[in-house]
C-alpha cells in the first residue's frame, strides 16, 4: 500500500501542504494534474529523493518517512527513463540484484524472467543508446521491478510514445500489474490512459489531492 499522511514539502518558492493519499496494496493508482502542479515532486517524495518537511509516508505497512531511498523498497521509472548509458541492458536489469549481493545464478535467472515478461530477451546485450523509445521504456520498467519492490512509481511512462506503442505499453503495464501484484502509482496527463489502466484515480490540484471515484 501507499499512504501519504499530511505531507508538506517545499522546493524553492513552490510549496505543497497537507497532502494525503491512500492506495491499497496491489492497486493501480493514477495521479493526474496540470503541468507544474507538483506531481513529479510528490512522486520523488514517495521515493525518498526529496525531503519532506512534515507528515508521514507509509509504504507496504512500513513507515519509511526517515528511510533512505535504497531501503524503501520502491521501483522508480522517471519520465526521461534515465537508463545508465554505460551499461548494457542485462546489467541494467541486474543492477539492483548485484547491489543485494545475490548469487550469479539467482541474478541471471531473475534477469531472464524479467526479459521474458517484458520482451527484452533479444536485447540483453544492447547498449541503451541503441534502443528505441518503447524498448528503453521496457528496460527502465524491468530495472525498477528487478528487486521485487512493493511499490512501483511511474512518471509519465507513456509520454512520447506513438499511438501503436502506447497501446502496446498499456497492455504490458496491465500484464505487469496482474503478474507481479505490485502497487503502482502512475502519473499521467492523459485521461484516456487513466481510464484504461487505473483502478483508482487521484487528481492533484491547488495543493490538494482528490480521489475521483
Amino acid at each position: 500500500m501507499i499512504a501519504l499522511e499530511n505531507i508538506a514539502l517545499r522546493q524553492g518558492s513552490f510549496e505543497l501542504r497537507d497532502i494525503s493519499l491512500e492506495l491499497a496494496g496491489g492497486e493501480y493508482g493514477v495521479l493526474m494534474g496540470g503541468s507544474g502542479c507538483g506531481k513529479t515532486t510528490l512522486l520523488e517524495a514517495v521515493c525518498g529523493l526529496r525531503k519532506i518537511s512534515g507528515g508521514r509516508i507509509i509504504l507496504g505497512e512500513r513507515d519509511v518517512t526517515l528511510l533512505p531511498p535504497a531501503e524503501r523498497g520502491v521501483g522508480y521509472v522517471p519520465q526521461d527513463r534515465a537508463l545508465f548509458p554505460t551499461l548494457p541492458v542485462r546489467e541494467q536489469l541486474a543492477f539492483a540484484l548485484v547491489l543485494r549481493e545475490l548469487g550469479q545464478a539467482d541474478i541471471s535467472s531473475r534477469v531472464d524472467e524479467l526479459a521474458e515478461l517484458l520482451g527484452l530477451t533479444a536485447l540483453l546485450d544492447r547498449m541503451p543508446g541503441k534502443l528505441s523509445g518503447g524498448e528503453a521504456q521496457r528496460v527502465a520498467l524491468g530495472r525498477a521491478l528487478a528487486h521485487r519492490p512493493s511499490v512501483l512509481c511511474l512518471d509519465e511512462p507513456l509520454a512520447a510514445l506513438d499511438e501503436e506503442l502506447h497501446d502496446e505499453m498499456c497492455r504490458l503495464l496491465e500484464r505487469v500489474h496482474r503478474e507481479t501484484g505490485v502497487t503502482i502509482l502512475h502519473i499521467t496527463h492523459s485521461p484516456s490512459e487513466a481510464k484504461r489502466l487505473a483502478g483508482c484515480h487521484f487528481r492533484l490540484a491547488n495543493g490538494k489531492v482528490q480521489r475521483d471515484e
Partner: protein, 427 residues
C-alpha cells in the same frame, strides 16, 4: 533586355555567411598550424661546421670596400647581411650563405650603399692540425680558435676508424684544443691510436645536442615525472571538489567558487611567490624538503593545473543529470556506490579531458617554478626552464630544440588521450 521580375520574397545567398565562417575560423587554424610548422622549418637539421673567429671588421662602408685576405684551398663560411651585396673574390662573386672555397687572395665585401654598417660575416672553418691520444682521450688541435665549450657535443667523422666516428661530448677545451673520449666504453683494454686519415669536425644539429645533453635529459625526465604526478594529484583533488560543487548546495558556495578560480586568474609568477612566502611559515624540515627541490616543482605545477582540472570536472558532473543517481538510490545504492557505479563511468571522458589539460598546463608551467623551485641544473630544471636557460645563453637554436621536444611530448600525450577516448566511444 529584360529578365522576368522575381515575384515576391527572395532570400539572400548563404555564401557570404559561410565564407565568413571559413575565413575567420580558417585564419586562426592557419596561425596554429603555421606556428608549429615555423618551429619545425626554422631549425637547421644539418650539422654545422666548426668555425673560427670573425674576419670582417665591424664598422661602416665609407666609400671604399672592405678587404679581407683568403687562404687558398680553405673552406670559409660566408653569411650575407642586409647591407651587403656579396663577396667579390677576383672574378668570382659569392652572394649566397654557406661554405665556399677559392684559389685564395684578396676578397672585398661589396655594399649595397655607402655609410651603412657592415652586416656580413666571414669565418674560416677550423681545420684539425694535430691529434694526440692518451688514456683513451683524444686531444685535437685546430688551426684557428674553435669557439666550442665544455659540455657541448662534436661530431667526428671521416676518420676511417669506426671507434672514432660519432658524436662525442667535449670534456676539455682551450682556445685551440679540445678533448673528448674515444672508443666504445665497453672495451676498456682496446688500444686506441690516432687515425691517419683526415679528421673532420662538425657541430651536430641542436636536437641531437639537446637530446645528448645530460642537463636536458634530466629536465625531460623531471618534466615527464612531475607532470604525471601533478596530473594524478590534480584529478585526486578535482574529482571530489567538482562533484561537490556540482551536486550540493551549501552556505558559502559562491566564496568557494571564487577561491577555486584564484589560481587561474592570478599571474603565474605571483602564485610562485605566494608559495615561497607561505613556506616561510612552515616548519623548517618541511620547507627544507620542498623549497628549491623537486617537490616544489610539483607543488607549483599542481597549484595552477589543479584549478583547470577542477573546472573541467565540475562541468563534466554538471552535464550528467541527477536523475541517474536518483534512480540508482532507489535501486539500492548509497551515495558512494551511486557515484562509483553510475556517475564515474559516465565521467570518464571528462576525467580524461581534465587529466590531459592538467598535464599540458603542468608541462608549460614556468614562472612559479622559477620562483619557487629555482632553475638549478639537474635538480629543478624542467623543460621550460631549459628553454629559458638556452635562450639566456644566447642559443636560440637550443631553445628551439627544447621547444620541439616539448611539442613532441605534448603531441604524444594528446594522441594517447585521444586514442583512449576513442576506445571509450567505439567500445
Amino acid at each position: 533586355m529584360s529578365t522576368p521580375a522575381p515575384s515576391g520574397f527572395r532570400v539572400a545567398s548563404d555564401k557570404p555567411f559561410l565564407i565568413g565562417l571559413c575565413v575567420l575560423g580558417g585564419s586562426y587554424l592557419l596561425i596554429i598550424a603555421a606556428m608549429v610548422l615555423a618551429d619545425l622549418v626554422f631549425l637547421n637539421y644539418n650539422d654545422q661546421p666548426v668555425l673560427g673567429p670573425e674576419m670582417v671588421q665591424q664598422g661602416r662602408y665609407s666609400g671604399g670596400e672592405i678587404a679581407v685576405t683568403l687562404e687558398p684551398s680553405r673552406d670559409y663560411f660566408f653569411r650575407k647581411g642586409k647591407n651587403d651585396a656579396g663577396l667579390q673574390v677576383g672574378e668570382q662573386r659569392i652572394a649566397s650563405d654557406g661554405l665556399f672555397r677559392t684559389a685564395g687572395g684578396q676578397a672585398v665585401l661589396v655594399p649595397h650603399a655607402n655609410d651603412k654598417p657592415v652586416t656580413a660575416s666571414l669565418r674560416p672553418e677550423a681545420r684539425v692540425t694535430q691529434i694526440t691520444v692518451s688514456n683513451r682521450v683524444a686531444t685535437v688541435t685546430t688551426d684557428v680558435a674553435h669557439g666550442l665549450l665544455w659540455g657541448e657535443f662534436i661530431r667526428v667523422s671521416r676518420t676511417g676508424k669506426p671507434a672514432w666516428d660519432g658524436v662525442r661530448e667535449i670534456t676539455d677545451t682551450t682556445t685551440n684544443q679540445l678533448s673528448f673520449a674515444v672508443g666504445p666504453p665497453s672495451r676498456q683494454q682496446a688500444v686506441v691510436t690516432a687515425p691517419t686519415a683526415e679528421l673532420s669536425l662538425s657541430k651536430p644539429n641542436p636536437l641531437v645536442q639537446a637530446l645528448r645533453s645530460r642537463d636536458i635529459r634530466f629536465s625531460i625526465k623531471l618534466s615527464l615525472v612531475s607532470c604525471t604526478l601533478t596530473t594524478l594529484l590534480s584529478l585526486w583533488v578535482a574529482v571530489p571538489i567538482g562533484y561537490m560543487m556540482s551536486r550540493f548546495e551549501f552556505r558559502g558556495k559562491p566564496i568557494i567558487d571564487t577561491l577555486l578560480d584564484i589560481p587561474i586568474v592570478l599571474p603565474p609568477l605571483v602564485v610562485g611567490l605566494s608559495l615561497l612566502i607561505l613556506f616561510r611559515y612552515m616548519p623548517e624540515w618541511l620547507s627544507d624538503t620542498v623549497v628549491y627541490k623537486w617537490p616544489a616543482v610539483v607543488l607549483a605545477q599542481f597549484m595552477v593545473a589543479c584549478a583547470f582540472a577542477v573546472r573541467t570536472m565540475r562541468v563534466t558532473f554538471d552535464q550528467i543529470p541527477q536523475r541517474f543517481e536518483q534512480v540508482a538510490l532507489t535501486l539500492g545504492c548509497n551515495r558512494r556506490r551511486a557515484f562509483w557505479r553510475v556517475i564515474m563511468p559516465q565521467a570518464k571522458g571528462g576525467l580524461l579531458a581534465a587529466g590531459t589539460l592538467a598535464w599540458a598546463r603542468a608541462l608549460g608551467e614556468f614562472g612559479p617554478i622559477l620562483v619557487f623551485a629555482g632553475a638549478t641544473r639537474q635538480k629543478t630544471e624542467v623543460l621550460p626552464t631549459s628553454a629559458f636557460l638556452e635562450l639566456q645563453a644566447g642559443r636560440t637554436e637550443g631553445m628551439l630544440a627544447v621547444s620541439l621536444i616539448m611539442i613532441a611530448a605534448a603531441v604524444v600525450v594528446f594522441i594517447i588521450a585521444r586514442t583512449l577516448g576513442m576506445k571509450r566511444i567505439f567500445a
